[in-house]
Symmetry: none
Subunit: 215 residues, 4 copies
């Protein structure tokens, strides 16, 4: 029996919530299949299983919280870079988007799974909150994109981010194959299907932006 202090103040509660999210994050990061169990999360967070559900209504809500943390950090990073001065080109923007994404494996994986997650078992309330926050940040970063790439029409920045997300998750899924698939791809005839994530992401994204510029 673990005797835990109770989080009476709002501040304490947030702290506990963060601890759980953090534990989940750490665990998910280590499992490409994203299949950490609630029991494991609870143990790592040093709380009881039931406690997790005190802070997150469902497993999916917890997953969403982790993704939100990841996304916030990513938006922060992108915003930070976009706010820097200098000459902005498609190439530079692409480079920002690619470089900030490449090391955020967990975010990309969770984004790829987002569809399934949301479809499965999250409450309307949680979904709404998530989507709202995502919308807000998309708009803000989208606006920055529009500022940096003047050929982007007003309001199209968020769209670009959506396209980016599509390319990102789609190419990642092709590139980050299961071991068995990787062995299958080792075959010589498979070369045309082999996807080097970073290279292709960059290539397709910059093409897409160039195309938008040319419109």
């Amino acid at each position: 029996m673990v005797l835990k202090q109770r989080a009476r103040k709002e501040e304490d509660k947030q702290q506990r919530r963060d601890a759980i999210t953090k534990a989940a994050r750490a665990l998910l990061e280590r499992s490409p299949r994203l299949d950490a169990t609630i029991a494991e999360v609870a143990e790592r967070a040093g709380v009881a299983k039931g406690t997790v559900f005190l802070y997150f209504a469902t497993r999916e809500a917890l997953e969403l919280a982790v993704l939100e943390v990841e996304l916030e950090a990513w938006f922060d990073a992108v915003d930070g870079e976009l706010d820097e001065s200098g000459k902005w080109t498609v190439q530079r923007v692409t480079s920002v988007l690619v470089s900030t994404v490449v090391l955020r494996k967990l975010m990309v994986r969770l984004l790829g799974k987002l569809h399934a997650t949301l479809e499965h078992n999250a409450s309307e309330e949680v979904i709404l909150a998530f989507e709202k926050r995502l919308a807000a940040r998309s708009l803000a970063t989208g606006a920055r994109l529009e500022a940096r790439l003047p050929f982007l029409a007003k309001g199209s920045g968020a769209k670009v981010l959506a396209y980016t997300r599509a390319l990102l998750t789609g190419l990642w899924a092709m590139a980050e194959a299961a071991p068995a698939v990787q062995r299958a791809m080792a075959d010589a005839d498979m070369a045309p299907l082999r996807v080097d994530f970073e290279r292709e992401f960059e290539h397709s994204l910059s093409a897409l932006l160039k195309g938008l510029a040319a419109e």
Copy 2:
């Protein structure tokens, strides 16, 4: 229930295999979550559960077979259109890719789930066969694309198809939201995140192609 017929000839076997695949197809088509069980498939195909496993080693192998049927049909359709004469532009190619995809819900869903499927429980042999066929068709259709869009470098056609697939599955996942998500998106603030699949797919794909042309 006793099945009188026994598929002794190779031809009959293929026919039975097709019947099972077809049953699976019909069931999957009706379940957005793609979670038809083997028992359901067997029942619909009018065979015993064990019989399904006679033709498909695992649930995933069956799923792959369904996807393969869908993909073949799609490649056929695309090839057919690309083989038509006339003047070819980015717009026309985009239009071909968009129009052939729009009504193939199941294909798009299965493609989106492909990553997870392959990761889960398909034998190396089955994966290899699937990937091989996919590679072959991608190359063939890729070559056609190169012929129609001369700005595409030799060998880049398959890449374009990969980008297309990424945009396709990624945008679909955003657009085909679960009911709860749809309600959440109904909110006014959400407008910038709302994705009209066909419109955005077309837009992003044509931009991408234009970008490649401009390189």
Copy 3:
């Protein structure tokens, strides 16, 4: 069905564990094939299937627990008798071993199946615990045997128990035949193979002990 009680205290947990073991015991007792399912055990114990797995990691672990209960009772009985005073002879010892065993059908059956059980699906930890307890009791009872039958060398008591177990399970298997076998044995020519368990067990065991005495 909702179980109101929750075993929070260690004591309550032990009690619940016992209840499950007891239910399993009752069921196994009634099935000569020892093939009660977990679902049946759970139902009889008045708990959910999952609860059984809360207390026993595998079906085999539960079986082992039942056997352990049986064995403890048997060792207790034997020890109790061996601790009585009076004159001890091979005959008396044999009589103790035979009489304590004769009515413990379930123990004998489970002992006969032990090999297969352990081979199948018990965790190393569970096996070790079981074997340790068995060893301890074998040593203790073995020592008593040595005290009662002075011709037994120091340390050979446990061996005698092993021989006893071998005769016991082996003869039981021959004697407790399936109905079909019994009918087959009814044939006149079969007389020499017919095994009256108690009689033969006693005969062989006393001979074995006498033989050890004569060494």
Copy 4:
């Protein structure tokens, strides 16, 4: 499709039957769990699955046939040795029984499983035939034992063989432990429970015979 010649003559049939039995024997020999499947047996024998059932009504009947072959060989060996001249003592008889048994792993394993097999799914007819043959050979070899060990009462030879079988299978089950059990037994405290099959079989069997002699 394998085109097989048909066994029209009785002789051919027996030959095919033997081929199947032999294949089963070879397979069982290699699997300590005795879990070769009929499909494997058929393949090794070079016949179709259905053909196996043409010669053996059930899986168990086949198992019984294999055991019978093993037992016949063993009885032959024992008889051969017992028919040799010279001075016969308990020691020599024990030695014959032990030495003929030690290398017949498969026989011992199958004997250990016999109870379960017979209980499970063999037809009365097959059981009867098996038991009859076993009885006949037991009687014959029993008679030889009586001749060699004059202290054995008339008709008790078969009993001695039954006791032998009990010790044999019982001790084997203790000695031939599953890997996990072996690791458990490696523990120091377990020494008293560790069973060296040959040594203990010999020890207990000779004691038993000596005891019978002393009666």
